[in-house]
């Protein structure tokens, strides 16, 4: 095992060197991202604390709900950790570029496997720290436990991460061993996405918000049984929840030696089992994953027909790029399968509107419906920005290292960038209008609101797409290993912030005129000349901001691409 440390060391060196060598812009990026992360943690802490304080104020069931919430959080984290480890393990154990070199050195399989498992654990579990810490700290803030809680939190979370890593890596090794080598990555990504969608639906359709409203249950027994639903004494999450909850609420902590021992024995057993399995199947799997890929011909004719129809309006040179983009997208299982996630997002979005308890609201119904329709524009805009961050922001970078084909061709970069814009505009407008019209229909809003929402969304999408393409070109990265990571990098986060600000400005500017028009309609008063002036001025400013959001980022992106130096 003397080589294990040597194999892990490069990761620490890379991290240290990055910190030392980052200067100016890069260091600024680190600070901005760090600041955003901190702000997110603070927000999570405040929201969690308020929710828990509210629960605590409810007699009898308050603590029950808080405990249930804790078990749901731990269960969710545990599931997400397993998925995250499955995806990261594929890269770290089978696809990393330096693996060939490592396998050619005289280190043992066990050492190499453990070092890569350690990388996987590090890469996958930082999420728990960022999302989990503020929530656990909120529990500590509300329940004021002793120092023992923090120790329990630390070691039980560590055990949970090891168990999840063990499970994720084990599943990955077996999948790689069983499935045909050339499809391994695709299949694993596909399975992981399906699992995430299933979990998402399961969580959403359980309607956890009902737990905060006991009146929605027929009897207290039904409510209490709902609180116990996902627990099982065989799940490590149950042992962790029990131990954490008691160290939170029982002064001095309750003796949970059995649960703690069980958790740690499971964690360490997972490590041993993984090493045994790795001895048997890791090298075979790695060897298979190095084999060349083959063409898969399934659905080629349908794709060809689809491509022919869609590329036609774009003319010869842009049409060629559209054809290339469509073929690449639908042949890359890691790309098109994300449409499933997108579909799930849209279904849950619409579902949320269908279960809104509007009739229980103390506010006048038609006012509330229209108010919600107005806010819906902002929410839909945000959803579209998130989708755009994944698919449109990465559109230019998606050329990858083959970008030289574009830059050395006679195609003008301006034409190329606007071509990408038009290519993404149509599906995005369609999606936006479907989101807004269907949810407005569920809300039963007035015709005026329906019209205003549709028009506003149309113009807003023009800006959201342009911001995506422009920022994508401005922060183009053609040397990525995983394109999905670009949307959560500095450029992607910046795009989301700018896009959110743009949406917020449009909504705020339209709020005044909408209120004036709505109130005049309700009260039967006519709109004054000054109010008309305000209305027209607001809509003019909205139009100007939209125009700016379309042309400015495209111009900046074009300039950046022209000056791109590889």
């Amino acid at each position: 095992m003397k080589n294990l440390y040597l194999l892990i060391k490069p990761r620490f060196f890379a991290f240290r060197n990055q910190l030392i060598s980052s200067k100016g812009g890069k260091r600024r990026r680190i600070f901005i991202l760090g600041g955003l992360g901190l702000a997110f943690c603070c927000g999570m802490f405040i929201v969690s604390s308020r929710v828990l304080t509210h629960f605590q104020s409810v007699e009898v069931i308050g603590d029950l709900v808080a405990r249930y919430l804790l078990s749901m959080i731990i269960l969710t984290f545990f599931s997400l950790l397993i998925f995250s480890h499955i995806i990261t393990a594929v890269s770290n154990l089978y696809l990393s570029k330096d693996l060939e070199f490592c396998h050619s050195t005289p280190v043992s399989v066990e050492e190499l496997f453990l070092s890569r498992s350690f990388y996987t654990l590090m890469d996958s579990s930082w999420m728990l720290l960022i999302f989990g810490l503020p929530v656990f700290m909120a529990y500590a803030y509300v329940y004021r436990p002793g120092a023992g809680f923090y120790f329990t939190l630390l070691h039980m979370n560590l055990a949970m991460v090891i168990i999840a890593a063990g499970a994720g890596i084990l599943i990955t090794m077996l999948l790689v061993y069983v499935f045909p080598a050339q499809r391994t990555k695709d299949i694993i990504m596909f399975i992981a996405i399906l699992m995430i969608v299933a979990l998402y639906f399961l969580f959403r359709f359980l309607r956890p918000e009902r737990l905060a409203n006991p009146e929605s249950f027929f009897s207290i027994m039904e409510y209490l049984s709902a609180l116990k639903a996902p627990q099982s004494p065989y799940l490590p999450t149950q042992w962790i929840t029990e131990t954490l909850w008691d160290s939170l609420t029982v002064p001095g902590g309750k003796n949970h030696m059995f649960a703690v021992t069980l958790t740690w024995v499971t964690a360490l057993s997972m490590v041993v089992i993984n090493v045994w399995v790795a001895q048997a199947v890791y090298i075979v799997g790695f060897s298979k994953s190095q084999e060349a890929k083959k063409r898969h011909t399934v659905g080629t004719k349908i794709l060809d027909m689809f491509v022919r129809c869609l590329k036609k309006p774009f003319g010869e040179n842009l049409g060629a790029i559209v054809a290339k983009d469509l073929r690449t997208f639908f042949r890359d299982n890691t790309q098109w399968s994300q449409l499933i996630l997108l579909g799930a997002l849209v279904v849950v979005y619409v579902y949320n509107f269908s279960v809104l308890p509007l009739d229980k609201s103390p506010i006048k119904l038609d006012f509330l419906q229209n108010e919600l329709a107005f806010l819906n524009m902002g929410l839909a805009g945000f959803v579209l920005s998130a989708i755009s961050a994944r698919f449109i922001f990465t559109a230019v970078s998606a050329e990858g290292e083959a970008y030289w084909v574009i830059s050395s061709s006679p195609l003008k970069l301006r034409q190329y960038l606007w071509g990408k814009y038009v290519y993404f505009l149509f599906p995005m407008v369609f999606l936006a209008e479907v989101l807004v019209i269907v949810t407005n229909y569920l809300l039963d809003v007035t015709r005026f609101m329906m019209f205003l929402s549709s028009i506003t969304m149309f113009f807003m999408v023009l800006g959201i797409v342009a911001l995506g393409i422009g920022f994508g070109a401005l922060y183009a990265n053609f040397k990525y290993e995983n394109i999905a990571q670009l949307s959560v990098g500095f450029g992607g986060v910046l795009y989301m912030i700018v896009s959110s600000i743009f949406i917020a400005i449009v909504i705020v500017l339209e709020a005044g005129p909408v209120y004036i028009l709505f109130m005049s309609d309700v009260s039967g008063k006519t709109v004054t000349a000054f109010q008309w002036f305000l209305i027209i001025a607001s809509f003019l400013v909205v139009f100007l901001i939209n125009t700016l959001a379309v042309f400015k980022p495209m111009k900046m992106g074009l300039k950046a691409l022209r000056e791109y130096e590889g």
Binding site: A292, K293, R295, N317, G319, W404, S408
Partner: protein, 252 residues
């Protein structure tokens, strides 16, 4: 056909290419030699319109690349040192993409040309396979195929022989000679001094961003004051006093 006038590229204070001047006539195979990091690829990328020069001019076929990049690129075929391609396209689909970018008409004659080029580069059997299943050499041959598709008057080539087997290398040398014979110009960087000696009409040697020698291989030999092959000339001109083979590895 190709004129580089005071061409300079500065990266964060480092002069990668330093005021180089080169004039290449039509029908010439021009070899661009130099040690690693001398500025060969940077010069070639500037000529292909991939990166912008800090100063200086690139004139191809009498047109300034900075003023009319699209018009110049229409005449130029570019072969990069590493064949990064769209892996999810088939070889044929990649060639059709290139045809679209260069606005080539899909006439029966053109389709015949595609098949002819695929045959020439021994890729006919692989034309419907995804590029991700190609070997390095096959990808390199596909890039060459694509670069000749629009019948360029100037071929800009960065390390053409890397990854090619002897048969493919011989084929490529033959194609370059044929292209030059037809009045087209080839500007080629290479590490292979044998290739340069065998096919290049003129050679320039670049070192630390500057041209240290230019002319036929005979003229370069005279300038270096050495006898024998181009290897001796190159090492003398780029390393100075001692030749590389005269140095020995340290014992420990």
């Amino acid at each position: 056909m190709i004129k580089l006038i005071d061409l300079t590229k500065v990266y964060k204070g480092f002069r990668a290419v330093d005021e180089i001047n080169i004039d290449v006539k039509a029908g010439v195979i021009f070899g661009f030699l130099g040690p690693n990091g001398a500025g060969k690829t940077t010069t070639i990328k500037m000529m292909a319109g991939i990166i912008k020069p800090t100063s200086g001019k690139i004139i191809i076929n009498g047109i300034d690349l900075a003023e009319k990049p699209s018009a110049v690129k229409q005449y130029v075929g570019y072969i990069p040192d590493r064949p990064f391609l769209y892996e999810k396209l088939s070889g044929l689909e990649f060639l059709l993409l290139i045809a679209g970018l260069y606005r080539l008409d899909h006439t029966p004659l053109f389709n015949h040309r595609i098949l002819e080029l695929l045959e020439l580069f021994d890729l006919s059997d692989w034309k419907d396979e995804l590029i991700e299943s190609y070997s390095h050499g096959m990808k390199q041959r596909l890039v060459m195929c694509a670069s000749l598709l629009h019948r360029p008057r100037v071929l800009i080539v960065d390390e053409p022989m890397v990854g090619l087997d002897p048969k493919a290398a011989r084929l490529v040398k033959g194609i370059f000679k044929e292209q030059a014979g037809n009045g087209n110009t080839i500007f080629m960087s290479t590490h292979s001094l044998e290739v340069a000696q065998e096919i290049c009409d003129e050679i320039a040697i670049i070192k630390a961003g500057q041209i240290v020698a230019k002319g036929t291989s005979e003229a370069l030999r005279r300038k270096a004051g050495v006898d024998g092959n181009l290897e001796h000339t190159f090492l003398k001109l780029t390393e100075g006093k001692r030749l590389a083979h005269e140095k020995s590895l340290p014992a420990h």
